[in-house]
Structure formats: structure tokens, C-alpha cells
């Protein structure tokens, strides 16, 4: 057969790919080389000026990036641990299994922004119920949203609450798809539950875990609405993340060109770091 035919079949896919993937990226790159902002709204060409500015004169971006790394890694690790634990609980033959599954999924069905508003009310230092309750127990008000350190953890709490169910669902699906034999074999070998987990469940779940963690990391690295609603990046810049910072630059200050520079740089960094993370995870969890 003439193999030139096969390229004909590739065209529609290629076309769509260019349309939905390549074009926006190319546009972003072009925009990042322009000085488009509120007072010069045009696609002029200013070379790599924006990039120079980013790499020499924008510590705030890099701070927000490291903050983001901390937030996303911490939330995902917590989500993974809690999600896995919940999945293990529900996976077992326990009563009201269905009921618990539904309960665990409730956060996922809520609208994140609305829930965050509710959380903000919860954690309101002087008017919220959390400090009220603590006050009844004689605890001084905790500055959930206005202490630079605690605020980070408040963001983490909300994120974990919101997204653990997703992790739970992925991991539960994984658990349910595992073959029975290894567990039987371990039972026959006389393994305790801890041994079963360490040597059977966890290794078998490793590929699924890596997938779930990476998916969540990608999602978590875009963390924005929670920060936006909960703290607006404050106090100071204590909870500002990359995407929130890019949003400020782009849609608040209307520095489109510079925001594109940030976006593109961010994209490149994310691709590189997620690739590395995936590799490292694979190495750690699936021994080759």
C-alpha cells in the first residue's frame, strides 16, 4: 500500500490539534513579546523585554511560584493520604458502604467558589463560627486568614476538603480494579493488614497513584479561585499563587503582554517540573 495515504487521515486530527492547542500557545508566545497593556493596546514587538523583566526584576512572581509549589505539593500529598485512607475504608466490606461513598463525594458536587465563600465565613476571625467555637473552649481567636503562615494552611484545608473526594474516587476505582489473587496469596502467606498494605495494596496501586497525583498536581497548580475568594492572596502576598499573580497582572492591571510572558514561562516550568515529578514518582513508587 502507498503509505502516503495515512497522512491524509492525519489531517483532520492535526487540524483540530493546531486549532485548539498550538494556536493559543503560539498566540501567547507572540503576545508575550509585545507590550500590550491598557495604555498601548497593540501587538507591538518589543523583543524579550518582558522576559528580561521577569527574570531580573520580578521577585514576586518567583515567590508566588515557590509558594504555589508548597501549596500544591502539600495539598496533593494530604489529599492522597486522606483519599487513600477513605478509599480503603469504603473498599472494605463495611456496612452502609454506599452511604459513605455518597457522603465522601459531597464536597466534589459543590461549587468551589460558593464553598470557598462559606469557608471564608467559617474562618472569619471575629464573626465566623470556628473562632466562636474555639472561644467557647477558651482558645484565643486564631487568625485563619490574616496570619501569613496560618492563612496558607487555611487555603490548604479548603483545597483538601474540596478535592480529596476526587482523589478518593480515582483511588477507589483503582482499588476496585485490582486483581483478587495477590490479596488471596498474601492472606495465604499469613500477612497482617499492614504487611498487606505495604507489599500488596500500595505497590499495586502505584501506577494509579502516580496518575492520580499528577492529575491533581496539574489541577492544584492552577489553584486560584480558592485563594481569590478566601484571602485574595493576602495578608500581604502570603497566599498569592502563580495563577493568581498572572490574573492580577493580566486582568487587573491589564498588562496583557507581560501576563502572557508569565503564562508562557509558567507553562514551560510546569511542563518541566511535572515531567520530573512524574519520573521521580515512578522511580520511588514503581521500582524498575
Amino acid at each position: 500500500m502507498n503509505f502516503k495515504h495515512k497522512y491524509v487521515f492525519l489531517f483532520p486530527g492535526l487540524f483540530v490539534l493546531i486549532g485548539i492547542l498550538i494556536f493559543p500557545i503560539i498566540f501567547t508566545i507572540r503576545l508575550s513579546l509585545s507590550g500590550w497593556n491598557s495604555y498601548t493596546p497593540e501587538m507591538n514587538f518589543i523583543g524579550i523585554t518582558n522576559y528580561i523583566r521577569l527574570f531580573t526584576d520580578d521577585p514576586r512572581f518567583w515567590e508566588s511560584f515557590f509558594r504555589l509549589s508548597f501549596l500544591s505539593v502539600t495539598t496533593v500529598v494530604l489529599q492522597y493520604i486522606i483519599g487513600f485512607a477513605l478509599a480503603l475504608i469504603v473498599w472494605r466490606e463495611i456496612k452502609f458502604k454506599r452511604f459513605f461513598r455518597v457522603i465522601f463525594l459531597i464536597p466534589m458536587m459543590t461549587t468551589p467558589v460558593i464553598m470557598t465563600v462559606i469557608w471564608r465565613t467559617f474562618f472569619h476571625e471575629s464573626l465566623g463560627p470556628v473562632n466562636d467555637l474555639l472561644g467557647n473552649l477558651g482558645v484565643e481567636p486564631i487568625l485563619w486568614l490574616s496570619d501569613p503562615v496560618i492563612a496558607k494552611f487555611t487555603v490548604i484545608i479548603v483545597e483538601v476538603w474540596q478535592w480529596t473526594p476526587f482523589m478518593f474516587l480515582l483511588l477507589l476505582a483503582g482499588l476496585l480494579s485490582l486483581p483478587k489473587e495477590p490479596f488471596l496469596a498474601a492472606a495465604i502467606d499469613g500477612a497482617s493488614s499492614i504487611r498487606k498494605f505495604v507489599y500488596v495494596t500500595f505497590p499495586l496501586m502505584a501506577p494509579i497513584s502516580i496518575g492520580a497525583i499528577i492529575i491533581r498536581l496539574i489541577e492544584a497548580s492552577k489553584i486560584m479561585d480558592t485563594v481569590f475568594v478566601l484571602t485574595s492572596g493576602g495578608p500581604g502576598t502570603a497566599t498569592e499563587t502563580s495563577s493568581f499573580y498572572i490574573y492580577i497582572k493580566g486582568l487587573r492591571e491589564f498588562q496583557m503582554g507581560y501576563a502572557a510572558t508569565l503564562s508562557f514561562t509558567y507553562l514551560v516550568i510546569m511542563i518541566i517540573s511535572l515531567t520530573i515529578i512524574a519520573k521521580v514518582l515512578t522511580k520511588l513508587m514503581i521500582k524498575e
Partner: protein, 359 residues
Amino acid sequence: MNLIGENITYKPDDQFHLNDVSFNFKKGNLYTILGRTLSGKTTFLKTIAGLLNPDSGNLSFEDNDFIKIPVWERNVAMVYQQFINYPHLNVYENIIFPLKQRKISEDQIKKDVEESLKTVGLVGFENRKIQELSGGQQQRVALARSLAKKAKILLLDEPLVNLDYKLREQLREEFKRIFTQGLSEDTILIYSTTDPQEVMELNGEVIVLDEGKVLQKGPAKEIFENPRTLKVAEISNDPPMNILKGTKSSEKLSFENILINSPSHFKNLSDQSYNFGIRASEIKLDNQGEEFEIELAEISGSETLLHLKKGDSKVIALIEEVMNFKIHEKVKIKFNENKLYAFNKNEELVSSPYGVYNG
């Protein structure tokens, strides 16, 4: 008007899948490709079907350059190892599937399907779901679909390998009947297998393939009786032909402390060392024979395969009966020297009980 391949080479990633393969297939004939796993059989069939493009060489059919013709225009049908059917369709729909795309009248389609169902022995199964069929029946549906298509080239890639042995036995017999009765004079049938028994039973023209290279071509009987090389001798026998290193000197053959008379067909051989070959079926239990130790007695079908050992030599003997042996038991065996083969140092056949083939 034949299917002709010339010097076909397919070599992805610098590894030969096909190495300088040439052939000339005539219509109305059955060709079997015999080779072990990964010998290039599937690549061979795929190349003819048009699923692969060779790196070099020519392929022509009915005087057309086949390589230029895309797969869907080649009028080729293929049956695979896996029973490939459309699981959402019933038997009838599965069979008419390739016909639908052609402009054939309803009546003709009906006739063709009926005919092919009759051929494969599935009349009355028209409305069955694919999942309700056994593996053998599924493979028959696949074959029926290929037959109904009335392709000029019909390719079967180890169609029986995934069936359990009873079904394989049944279907092998049926395939043979179909191939001898149900095929038109216009069709070229190419069948690939690893099983020498299948090759013998189908009794067509054989191509022995190994590491992408054609080792020998010829009628099944010829391959069996005069394997031109030691490799062919191994591939074309199940169990593989026993090979024993030994020497001939003064009308005696010696190997591993065993001394036997040189058979008459060896009389022209010079005195030197050879690889002697003997089929498992030519080794018999005999109280007068040499003592060997049993490594394992395998029972296959109605046969007992004795894996025997003496010193460094290992042979397999085939007993046409089911017998009980224990591991490490000692048995005495005798070689039928009249059925010995001799291969020289280059592993080429120099003497055969059937006279050296010189074709």
C-alpha cells in the same frame, strides 16, 4: 497472473523481519508458511495483505504492482490468531459485513452467506450472538466472513493456535476439508503455522521461514523427508528432530559411548564427524538397547514423549501410547538406524533415508 514476491526485505529498527524473501504463488493452491514464533510469518502475511510496506523488493499480483495498491483495494481476506469478530453483531451480520461495502445484490449476498455458513458448518447459527459461541465457532465465523468475501487471496495467520487441543483437532480436520472442497480455483490460500503436523496434514506447498529468511521451499512431504538443513529438520518436526554429535568410522557410528552400525544409505559418507539426526518416533523402547535416564515423561494427545538423557546427550522419544513413567527412571531404547539423517559441520543435509533432495 500469479502472486509474485521478489527479494522482499522488511527491516524496521535494523532488525530483519523479512530478509530477501522471494516466492511465486499460483492460483488454486495452498501454501503453508512454517516457522517458529517471531520467525516472520505474520510479517509475511501482513506484507501481502498490505498492512505493512516492505523496505525493498517487489510484490505483484495479476501483473499489477501490489505495493502501490492500498490495503482496501487488494481483495485480500485475513483470519487472525485471535478470533476477530464484531461482538455487537450476530453471526449473519458478521459475515455480511464486508459484503455490505460492495455493490452486490441482496440475493447474491444471501446466497454467499448461506454457502459460506454451510462450508464452515454453522448453518442454523445465523442469529447467535458472538459471545454465545465457543472459540472454535468464533474462529469459524471469522473464516466464513473471509470466505464470503470471495477474496482472491485468503490469509490465515495461525488460526488454530488459541484454541484448546480438542477444538484444534476438530477444526484442523474441518479446515482441511474446506480447503480441498470449498475453495475456488481462483483463490490463493496462504496459511501460517508453527505446527509441523498441521503442515503435513494440509499437505500443500511449504515455505520454511526462520529469522525472516526462507530456509526451504517445497511440498510438505519433501520438507519432512529431506530437510535441507539442520534448522529445517528441527522446525519441521514436533518434537524437534533429535540431533546427536558423533562420528562415522569404518561402517560404525559412534556417539556418547554408543556404537551402532552405519545404515546402508550412509555408505557414501566419508569417515568424519557429523550431526546425526533422528526423529523422536524412530526411537523405540527396546530391552536390548542403550540405557537412558528419564527426565520427564510428557503425555500429549495419545503419545508419550520421553525426555531422555545420557551423559551430555539429550533425546526425545515418542511412544504412540499413553504410558506411566517416573522421573529419573532408567529405560532402554534403540535407534532405528535406517531413519538416521546426517548433517555436515555446516549443518547441511548430506544424507537422508529418503535420498538427498537436490531440487
